[in-house]
Structure formats: structure tokens, C-alpha cells
């Protein structure tokens, strides 16, 4: 029995690494049928596998399409596990919910995609709003998703002001203190983060994961 479990989990790791969403879904269900706990699957299979995939991308052993495919496969697995938990009356215990997007008028989304894939891989629920995201869209999504963290990416000096506009909008509706704000991207520095009163900044995706973890511990 444990033999089949080990083998299934190995196959699941492989399917995630290969970015094969269908196979991942099948193997996730099979693992549940074999009695593996959903939370154990997340902590022992999905998180370490996706962390490795993220590292492989940073080393260019694989390229962006492969990274995104693994991210999609992981999302599929997580959705199945969420359902399983819900039907047994449990709550999906993610590390927290992150609403992320590239700010208004900014189309640069490569860095943001990497951050969102890696943060998701580390057990957060990530709602990716895409690029060119208006302040009001951040606000709406943060409320709807009951977000813990609002993460903004900005690559240009001309779009950086939108970070401040977004934070100000949250202030105006008196919701600023309900969320943590983290920011990043080429035009942003720690100094700027302090200036606009963001709660965190990270220079790269690996650091972004650490910031998310640290911020929610406080």
C-alpha cells in the first residue's frame, strides 16, 4: 500500500514538474483516494516541487512557458484539494490570500507573473489581476477575496504614482489598515516603499515570498 502511495506521489511530482495539468489532476484525486491528507499533499508535494521548478527557472534550466505550465498544474491540484477539504467540512488553510497585479497603465508583467507563481507555490492563495490594474480594481478584489496582502508591481517612473493612488484609495474608504501592501518591480525601491507607506518591498521573487511570510507573522 505505502508503496503505491509513494509511487503515486512521485508521479504527481513529475506531472507537476512537467506542467501536465490533466495528469496532475488525475494523480491528485488518486492520492486522495489512497488516503493521503490534502494538507500533507500541499506541504510535502506541491510546495517543494514548485519551489524546485521556480529555482530551475531562475537558473534557466527551464524557461517561462514551462514555469507557467507548472504553475497552472499546481493551481488545478490546489482546486481539487480545496474541494476535498470543503466537502469534509474543513477550511483550506492557505498561508494567506494575496491579491496581485501590475499597476494601471503598466503592461510589464513578466516579473509579476514570476512572483505570483512562486508565492502560490509556497502555499498562499494568489489572485492575479493581470496587468494595467486600476486602483478601484485592486480595492474591489481585496474586499471580494478577503485578501491579507495587496501586492503591486510597477516597472516605470510614469506608472509608479499609481501605487500611491491605490494606497490612497484604500485610505479614503478607511480600509487601509485591513490589508498589508507590498510593492516591487524595476521602478520601486525600499526608499520609495517607505515614502508611500507600503508595508513591504522585495527586489526579487524569492524575497517576495519571504516578505509575504514575514508580514503575516507580525
Amino acid at each position: 500500500m505505502s508503496n503505491t502511495v509513494d509511487q503515486t506521489l512521485d508521479e504527481l511530482k513529475q506531472a507537476l514538474t512537467d506542467g501536465d495539468s490533466n495528469k496532475t489532476a488525475t494523480l491528485t484525486r488518486k492520492s486522495l483516494d489512497l488516503g493521503v491528507e490534502p494538507l500533507a499533499l500541499i506541504q510535502n508535494v506541491i510546495v517543494p516541487t514548485l519551489t524546485q521548478v521556480g529555482q530551475d527557472f531562475q537558473d534557466f534550466v527551464i524557461f517561462l512557458p514551462e514555469l507557467m505550465a507548472s504553475g497552472d498544474a499546481a493551481e488545478k491540484a490546489t482546486a481539487i484539494l480545496e474541494e476535498a477539504l470543503a466537502s469534509s467540512g474543513q477550511q483550506m488553510t492557505s498561508l494567506g490570500t494575496v491579491v496581485i497585479g501590475t499597476v494601471e497603465n503598466d503592461v510589464h508583467d513578466i516579473g509579476k507573473n514570476i512572483v505570483s507563481t512562486l508565492v502560490r507555490a509556497h502555499g498562499f492563495k494568489v489572485v492575479d489581476l493581470g496587468r494595467d490594474v486600476a486602483p478601484s480594481v485592486f480595492l474591489e478584489a481585496a474586499q471580494k477575496e478577503k485578501a491579507d496582502i495587496v501586492a503591486m508591481s510597477s516597472l516605470m517612473t510614469t506608472t509608479r504614482p499609481s501605487i500611491l493612488s491605490t494606497i490612497n484609495l484604500f485610505k479614503e474608504v478607511e480600509l487601509r489598515n485591513d490589508y498589508k501592501f507590498i510593492i516591487g518591480g524595476g521602478s520601486v525601491t525600499q526608499v520609495y516603499a517607505d515614502e508611500v507607506g507600503a508595508d513591504g518591498f522585495a527586489p526579487d521573487a524569492a524575497a517576495a515570498v519571504e516578505v509575504c511570510k514575514a508580514i503575516l507573522k507580525k
Binding site: V107, T158, T159
Partner: protein, 464 residues
């Protein structure tokens, strides 16, 4: 032959509204990536660490055919309509027959003529000096840009990016963007006056995030049709209405246009081979859609922020050979070293970059996006002097010899790329008042030039 190809403007706009519909993520992941991967195999395109500057003509010609295949199979995606702008292979070939094989940039005695070149060509390369996209505060804009304008080897200026306008952030898609564009024009003319080069061509409002900044500041009293109007492409192979609005406006003012495409290494097009193929296919499509004069590129290594890795240099060299052997496209390229002002790393990177791209047939060299192009004030015009001098001195050089030089330089600088060698800001390597480099920075520059001469770069031998 100059502009005969803008008659299809209405056809372009029409195709952006009637082409095949596709989701953007499907375009990238189901169309771009698999097509690139298939064509690389089919045409047997392979990266080789030992020949960063290849001299295999057959390989270059195969890459060109693969580029044409890609361009006709995939087309350009328009984000605003979620449609592909597509052309048959024959339409693309016809379009290439009528692309401009020369362009005049600037006015009168200050103008320069850009010519189509072939690999190992002796025709003069046009030199662009400036700091594309590097943020500078308003008070430094004139000294920084004047440092480039007074440099005799520089033919065309490329503006840096203003951090603020009258002290306020230049907010995209707002009145501030319009005001920012006008302020850039006003300051640029101060620069040309101070340098006594009033007709010099200026690369203008290229960092305008929407169409507003570019279109407003390129009207009466602002930037002139003879300036270099930039239209970007969204990586990979995408455009949108903001960019097409710039195309329409530039066409109607009879403006000189630079269009460019910056592929991401390791992104949807993959590694060295994919970048080479993308770099070949993009100008073929952009000639058809944007109808530009010159076609630029500045590929990016997303973690090192530069375009001087061996893989990217190889891709640039091979793609430029593919294009320059088979078309009259005026190729321009923008050096983006990881190193910044005050570092030897930057100078070595720029040398390798200029040698590899010039012998491969480019028409224009632009220097530079120093320190990766995103660190405020990390600019110094000695970058443009070096690239200009090298471009002229290696014109006519054999690709084999260029390859040896580039390999040698790579051995010196490659280990430093990972150390984030951004160097120092303008005001620390320059005397801002008289706009001269500090003796320390000038000394480093002179040392590297002597090293290059020892290596076999015939610097200074070919005054043009």
C-alpha cells in the same frame, strides 16, 4: 530609396479589427512558443558556445526562412481587439522589397543618412548616443544630454527619461504625461542650442507609456518630423491601440520612425535559438505593420538585466546576418550592459556588443542602456564614444576575427555580470558644470582603449 511603403496604413488598421480572434494567453503559449520550437528544429538552428559571431551563411539564410515562416504563421497580436494581424508569406516578401534601404535623420547639415549594410560591410554605421529610458531629474537632463550632443562621434541623440515635470510625477495617461512630453521637447532644444547642432535628430518621448506623450509633443512647436519617433512592440509579438495610434500619427506627420522589439531571454520564445528566431521574424512583421524606417532591438536577460550574455550576443549576431543578407532592413541595436558608469565591465561589454553586431550587418549602433537601463542617473556619454569608435574601426572586419575578439572579451567580463556592477551615477563620474568626465573615469576609459588596441581592435585607425 526611402518611404514608399506607408500606403497600407488603412489596411493595417482594418486587419487589426478583422483578423482571427484569439485569447492573449493562447497566443503566447499555444501559438508563439510551439511555433518557435517547431521551426528551430525544422531549420536546424543550434547555439554554439564557441562561435558567438557565426560565419555560417547557410545557417543565417535558414534562420531567415524560419523567420518568414514564423511571421506568416503567427502574425502580430493586437491586445485592444484580441485579434491577430496576419499577412501571407507573399505579402511579407513584397513588403520587404519596398522597405526603406536608407533613411535621413535630422535636418540639413546636422542630418545623417542611415544605409542598409551586409555582414562584414565597410559602409559607415550611424551612431546613436543617449540614455534610453534611464530616469534623470529635471536639473540633470540638459547636462546629461548635452554631454552626448557635444560628442562628435554621435550622429543622433536618444533622450533619457525625465523623472518629474516641474517637480511633479509624470503620471501615465494623464495631463502630466502630455506636459512631460512637452517639457522633454523644450529641454531637448536647449541641448541642441548649447551644442550648436540644431538640426540634429533626437530620439523622442520614447518612454511615453501611452500614445499621449508621444503624439502631443510631436506636434507643432515640439519634436519635428525629422526626429526619431519610437514605436515599441509588446513582448512577445504584440501591439495595441496606443502603439498603433503612434504609428498613425508618425505616418501622417511624415515622421522618421524607429520601431523596436525586445524579446525576453528565457521567456515565451525560449533560449538562444528562440531569441534568434524572434529577432529575425519581428522586423519582418514590424515592417509590414508599423512601416518604420529603422528597426531596433534590445533583448533582455531578465535576471542580469543586460543583452551582453553569450547566448544573446549569438542570437543578435545570427539574426542580423539573416536579415542583412536577405533584406534591406535598416537594423539598429541598443547596447544594454549590466555594467554602469565608472566600471571597466561596462566598457568590455560595450566593446563585445559593438563588434558582434557591427560585423553582422547592423546599420545603427546605440549606446547605451548602462547599468541595465533602470537605475536613475547611471549614465555617461563615454559609452557612446566607445561604441562609435569601435563601430567605425571594425567596419569591414571578418566575422572570424570578430568572433575571436568577442570570445576574449567575454572571458574577461562574463564573471562580473552576476555581481550587479552598476557603477556610479553621472554626477560622480562627471563634472556637471563643465560637462567633462572626471580624470579617474577618463583614465579607466583610456586604459580599456589601450587594452582593446592590444587585443587587435584597430581603434582610431578608421576616422569616418
Amino acid at each position: 530609396m526611402r518611404m514608399r511603403h506607408r500606403a497600407r496604413l488603412v489596411d493595417v488598421l482594418n486587419r487589426a479589427e478583422t483578423g482571427p480572434i484569439i485569447e492573449e494567453s493562447d497566443f503566447e503559449r499555444r501559438l508563439v512558443t510551439p511555433t518557435i520550437n517547431r521551426l528551430i528544429k525544422q531549420y536546424d538552428i543550434k547555439f554554439d558556445h564557441k562561435t558567438i559571431v557565426p560565419s555560417d551563411d547557410d545557417l543565417a539564410d535558414r534562420l531567415f526562412q524560419a523567420g518568414l515562416d514564423f511571421a506568416s504563421e503567427v502574425g502580430l497580436f493586437c491586445q485592444s481587439t484580441s485579434r491577430r494581424i496576419v499577412w501571407s508569406r507573399q505579402e511579407l516578401v513584397d513588403g520587404l522589397r519596398y522597405c526603406p534601404s536608407e533613411a535621413i535623420l535630422g535636418i540639413g547639415n546636422d542630418s545623417v543618412t542611415v544605409h542598409a549594410r551586409r555582414p562584414e560591410d565597410t559602409i559607415r554605421v550611424t551612431v546613436v548616443g543617449g540614455a534610453y529610458g534611464v530616469p534623470v531629474p529635471e536639473h540633470l537632463f540638459v547636462p546629461v544630454m548635452y554631454s552626448y550632443a557635444r560628442e562628435p562621434v554621435v550622429d543622433v541623440l536618444e533622450n533619457a527619461t525625465l523623472e518629474t515635470v516641474y517637480g511633479h510625477p509624470i503620471k501615465a495617461d494623464s495631463p502630466w504625461e502630455v506636459l512631460g512630453g512637452w517639457r522633454e521637447a523644450e529641454l531637448s532644444f536647449q541641448v541642441l542650442n548649447r551644442a550648436n547642432r540644431l538640426g540634429m535628430c533626437i530620439g523622442c518621448v520614447e518612454t511615453s507609456p501611452t500614445a499621449l506623450g508621444e503624439i502631443s509633443a510631436s506636434s507643432w512647436g515640439g519634436f519635428r518630423p525629422s526626429d526619431w519617433h519610437h514605436v515599441a512592440t509588446i513582448s512577445e509579438f504584440k501591439t495595441n491601440y496606443d502603439l498603433l495610434e503612434k504609428v498613425v500619427h508618425t505616418a501622417r506627420i511624415g515622421g522618421a520612425m524607429e520601431t523596436y522589439y525586445n524579446p525576453i531571454f528565457g521567456g515565451y520564445v525560449g533560449g538562444a535559438e528562440g531569441v534568434a528566431l524572434a529577432l529575425t521574424a519581428a522586423p519582418i512583421l514590424l515592417n509590414q505593420v508599423n512601416m518604420a524606417h529603422t528597426f531596433g532591438t534590445r533583448p533582455d536577460h531578465p535576471f542580469l538585466n543586460c543583452d551582453t550574455t553569450p547566448e544573446i550576443l549569438w542570437a543578435l549576431s545570427l539574426a542580423f546576418q539573416a536579415l542583412s543578407r536577405n533584406t534591406n532592413i535598416l537594423i539598429s541595436s541598443l547596447a544594454g550592459p549590466a555594467g554602469g558608469p565608472g566600471t571597466k565591465t561596462m566598457l568590455y561589454e560595450l566593446a563585445a556588443y559593438t563588434i558582434a553586431t557591427t560585423v553582422s550587418g547592423q546599420s545603427m549602433i546605440e549606446a547605451s542602456m548602462s547599468a541595465g537601463g533602470r537605475i536613475p542617473r547611471h549614465i555617461s556619454r563615454l559609452d557612446a564614444r566607445l561604441c562609435g569608435e569601435i563601430a567605425h574601426s571594425v567596419s569591414g572586419m571578418k566575422r572570424e576575427q570578430a568572433n575571436e575578439l568577442v570570445q576574449h572579451l567575454l572571458n574577461i567580463y562574463q564573471p562580473d555580470l552576476k555581481t550587479n556592477p552598476i557603477g556610479r551615477p553621472f554626477e560622480e563620474v562627471y563634472d556637471v558644470d563643465n560637462v567633462e568626465p572626471t580624470s579617474e573615469w577618463q583614465g579607466i576609459y583610456d586604459d580599456v582603449c589601450s587594452e582593446l588596441v592590444h587585443m587587435g581592435v584597430p581603434l582610431g585607425c578608421n576616422i569616418r
